[in-house]
Amino acid sequence: MADKMATREAYGKALCELGAKYDNLVVMDADLSGSTKTGEFKKVYPERFINMGIAEQDLYGAAAGLALSGKIVCASTFAMFAAGRAFEIIRNSIGYTGANVKICATHAGITVGEDGASHQTFEDIALMRTIPGMTVINPSDGVSAAKLIAQAVAMEGPAYIRLGRASVPITYSESDELEIGKGNLVREGKDVTIIATGIMVNEAIIAADMLSSENIDARVIDIHTIKPIDKDIIIKAAEETGAIVTAEEHSVIGGLGSAVSEVTSSCCPVKVGMVGQLDTFGESGSPEELKKKYHMTADDIVLKVREVLK
């Protein structure tokens, strides 16, 4: 069993390292610093940590003001309240101005678990990727999260980085090279391609193992950057394997599945089956129970692969 780590834990650690590298890095939060792990940065750099209280609109408005004054800002709260509640502030004060704010949103998706539907966001990727100039990143494990956060901080301009609450297996190693905007070929295959993002990358790897026992050779691609999306790797997969299944811990409306279909439909139409939250709200439960109940597991990917290959 691989080591496990929540991507938010990796975020807290990465912030402390980045704080040493960039003396203009400012970290902001809205009264959730223990949960989002920005509190780790606060311990080391209290003078560069700003708590805005339970006021997410003000959080992102003030983040824009700091960024437009030369700061690199990582501003965190739960994904529901960042992408959801503060959407229009992010759109107008951060997106439209191109402010250098990294919206590091934690507790995304069904694996929020017991807190239930009010806190489980399945809409954030859809919302954020419609904003012109917004880079949208969804890391799959702790190692890739740290690498991609460091690249996002080094890059000028707004980015949305989706992070999770639950511990998930580490699938990358420190030597793996990842780059914002480039999909990562996790596993070669010729019969079908599973394109996954976030914590569903690990499920996709498990699904590919299961499929190999049925003599189905599945390619696995990690799309950690949903915008700008790596069109080349998707087109190549569509042409070479002829069928795609997408897997995301997000609504099948507007998320990775939609983004992949936008690429394939115009260049190389193939069947795209989608695994994700099916236009319904979540509920309380353990992350593992909820992943099963809402059909976001390796088993569900396997079923969807069989369906598209029929």
């Binding site: 560069r48 805005m52 003001g65 004060s93």
Partner: protein, 272 residues
Amino acid sequence: MTNEELKKIANDIRIDIVKSIHAAGSGHPGGSLSSADILTALYFEVMNIDPENPEMKERDKFILSKGHANPALYAALAERGFFPKEELITLRKPGTKLQGHPNMHYVPGVEMSTGSLGQGLSVAVGMALANKMDNNPGRIYTLHGDGEIQEGMIWEAAMAAVHYKLDNLTAIVDWNGLQIDGKNDDVMKVAPIADKFAGFGWNAFECDGHDIEDIVIALKQAANVKDRPTVIIAKTVKGKGVSFMENEAGWHGKAPDDEQFEKAIKDLGGEM
């Protein structure tokens, strides 16, 4: 500058507001005219700015949070030398720098892209925090509509500005009493504005928003207050200076026709 010189500038700004909105065929004359004296005080007497060096590090910054009053901001910036006055009549036209609501990347001197109400005070809080961190003496100014403060986000920012003791921040409310659907008192009461801000811990007081000397004194007083932000509630008349627009909510967001344009310019003693 003398008070007479400042008054002349404010009047020229009003003429430019009317001309640019007439040329555009749309726009917001009421709240632009009500804020002309406030902008004159800021841009010609109070703020440390340099049109030759608009990115100067220690400059004061102004955010027009009521972005729809941008004809007044554009006129003040052009009058101050940030860009040629001839461009004012390109307002709202295809390809113009002078968008219907201000874009900071197109117009030198515009510090923040605004238009969606309620966001400017939060951005100003961020800028004021950054200046505190950097020991930058630049001050941050914002201008809000009275209707705008119905936005809840204003009060989130009001709380934060006091919490972080942002004495380098001065907010101004253009208190003309009217908004699109009518009087504030009928649509959604905002009064007593100064008391609300004072309750949040701001240094809050009222001034005559058409007496430039009074506005300048108020702004200079604000700069001397320590450990808390100041809000100036500037009592104004919507449509100020154009007889048929004054105190008429209907002139919030429409352009004068040719006949009305002629009368407006006459009211302001301008030339066509």
